[in-house]
């Protein structure tokens, strides 16, 4: 019996997707588990490009995640990853960084993970100012469980658990984290690839807690439930119309701000960082010890 010849597809390096070399072969749900039109894959790309542009050794980058659609991001990272428990990535990340301060530790968390079940870890990590980076993928929804509302979902939204319109208002995560003491806080959206990459780079470089909120589209649940379109194009258009540059926002009247929110950098400052402080303390006490 004749068999079909095996054609080896040899594409030139220049045509290969630039993120592919960071992709874990054989990862779960190959190529990935996300729905058509989801923004999480975009943010995965922004992250690996940020790592590449910073010239980091990928073996020194530990990618931490928790549960849900966003929690799965870490599992596609070819180098070290730690897929942890729902809401807890920042605690695990702090432990990793304490044991090896040379590592770059990144956490990607969904909006529910960041602000509901993981809310205390978020504000405590910001307060401690631990040198880890948190990237919140905010698509206003619990996607993995089928589109329930989260603490960032805007009031009035329809979801699987707010069939008559949501009656509670959502967090502004950047304001929350800034108030808790984070040294770098920025917000971008999936309509701004370059700004998103730049913000992630600055958050990683910050010697302290860096927080980037990236507004993302969930056409499958949030988009469909709220008649914003069940594809990424109409949702990205909605995001584009809903977010204004911080510099413009600052000049807008209360009336003009109605239904809109700002994107940009909110905090870029320095404060004592806990992991270095603990190691400095240990070094000093160890040297002073006489028994």
């Amino acid at each position: 019996m004749a068999t079909a010849p095996v054609i080896e597809k040899k594409e030139p390096e220049s045509l290969r997707h630039p993120a592919l070399k960071y992709y874990r072969p054989g990862a779960g749900g190959n190529p990935h588990i996300w729905c058509e039109g989801c923004g999480i894959g975009q943010i995965w790309y922004y992250t690996v490009i940020a790592i590449e542009e910073l010239g980091l050794d990928p073996n020194s980058v530990v990618w931490v995640g928790g549960s849900g659609c966003t929690g799965r991001m870490c599992t596609y990272w070819k180098h070290d990853y730690m897929h942890t428990l729902h809401g807890r990535p920042l605690g695990f990340a702090t432990g990793i960084k304490l044991a090896n301060p040379e590592l770059t530790v990144l956490c990607h968390m969904g909006d529910g993970e960041t602000s509901a079940i993981g809310g205390n870890h978020l504000i405590q990590t910001a307060r401690r100012n631990a040198d880890v980076t948190a990237i919140c993928v905010n698509n206003y929804t619990y996607g993995m469980t089928g589109g329930q509302y989260s603490p960032t979902t805007p009031i009035g939204s329809l979801s699987a658990t707010s069939k008559y319109g949501l009656v509670e208002d959502g967090f502004d995560l950047c304001e929350l984290v800034a108030a808790a003491g984070a040294t770098y806080v920025a917000r971008s959206t999936t309509t701004q690839p370059r700004q998103s990459i730049n913000f992630i780079k600055k958050a990683i470089q910050k010697k302290g807690f860096g927080f980037v909120e990236i507004i993302s589209q969930c056409p499958t649940f949030y988009g469909r439930s709220n008649k914003l379109g069940d594809n990424s194009i109409t949702m990205l258009d909605w995001i584009k119309r809903s977010f204004v540059r911080k510099a413009d926002w600052d000049k807008m009247s209360a009336e003009e701000r109605e239904g809109k929110r700002p994107w940009g950098e909110f905090v870029d400052t320095e404060r004592p960082e806990v992991i270095k402080a603990l190691h400095d303390l240990a070094k000093a006490q160890r040297e002073a010890y006489r028994g």
């Binding site: 990862a27 599992t75 990793i96 044991a99």
Partner: protein, 382 residues
Amino acid sequence: MANPRLLTGTHLMQGQQACAEGALAAGCDLFAGYPISPATEIAEAMARRMPQAGGIYLQGADELDSLTIVIGSVWGGYKSMTATSGNGICLMQENIGYAAMTETPCVIVDMMRAGPGTGIATKSAQGDLYQVRFGSNGDYSIIALAPESPQEMFDLTVEAFNLSEEYRVPVFVLGDEILSNLREKLVIPSEVKVRERRKPTEAPGVGYKTWAVPEGEWTGPLPAFGQGYHLAVSSFARTDDGSPSQAYDVQKRITERLWNKVEANADKLTRVEDGFTEDAEVLVVGFGSVGRSVKAAVRQARAEGLKVGFSRLVGIWPFPDAYIAKVGKNVKKVIVSEMNMGRVSREVQRCLGRDTDVILHSKPGVAMHTPVEIMDQIRKVM
């Protein structure tokens, strides 16, 4: 220069401080914990002592935070520990399951207090046996050791670290409030046997399988992040390379190994102090602080000519099934004295079957069994 990790010599020391000294001697690099009676003074001792040894003390925002920091630091290359009481164990349960599933060696000290709920924060009980063994979801195994004195708070904390490295499981030091605050003589030797972490023999690289277990072994070596091993750490049911799997055979293989790596080694992990068991008609079983009264009462009974023996269980989990079956074979009755409504007594009954009369001598906590009370119980059943 003096070794800050090993205060060789004879001390008068409180149980919680002895525990902290044991941790330092065993090579603990990090302690993360949340204040809770009656385990707060372990945290206080570690806050003072860890930096002296070049290590880290970090106060968790709660018990969940504490154990996540501990587990994360272990994958970063540290040996780490937390300490709490029963209420704190309740909060840690999800992380305990995570540590079991990710085979993360760590030490969790539980100084038991009366419950349920808030209970009595400053009074003793022994009610946490099942929650440390079966508290998290799914099937896994852990090791639990029950000290009776500050000396054993030291010795068993060292052993807990060593066993956690050998079996790659969370190991519990299961003390109680009486031991928290008991001050006694503690002898710290000039040398302590410390088991180092087992590293992979193969070179780092993309092909390394995070969850592969060498043929004929129960668990694999443990590299750290940042060494180039491309570690895929998660508590998913997964194949050896870390890919999540929903396959029956994968779940079966993982579950059976996580269970059996401890349970199949129960004989090796049996730790018991016993006496007068050869010709005993009645056996008295106890552990922890109550174990002291058990021994005193049985010695008194022997002085009065009564054929009574004692078994003080030092290793609680895995339960010493084979030992109990053997030691209980020829006795007529077994008394189990414990500060709860029946935990060890149920296990002993399971081991000996319905033909042996197992009598639960229960106190609900606050006050431990006195030797006189146990003596009364012995007289009652003989």
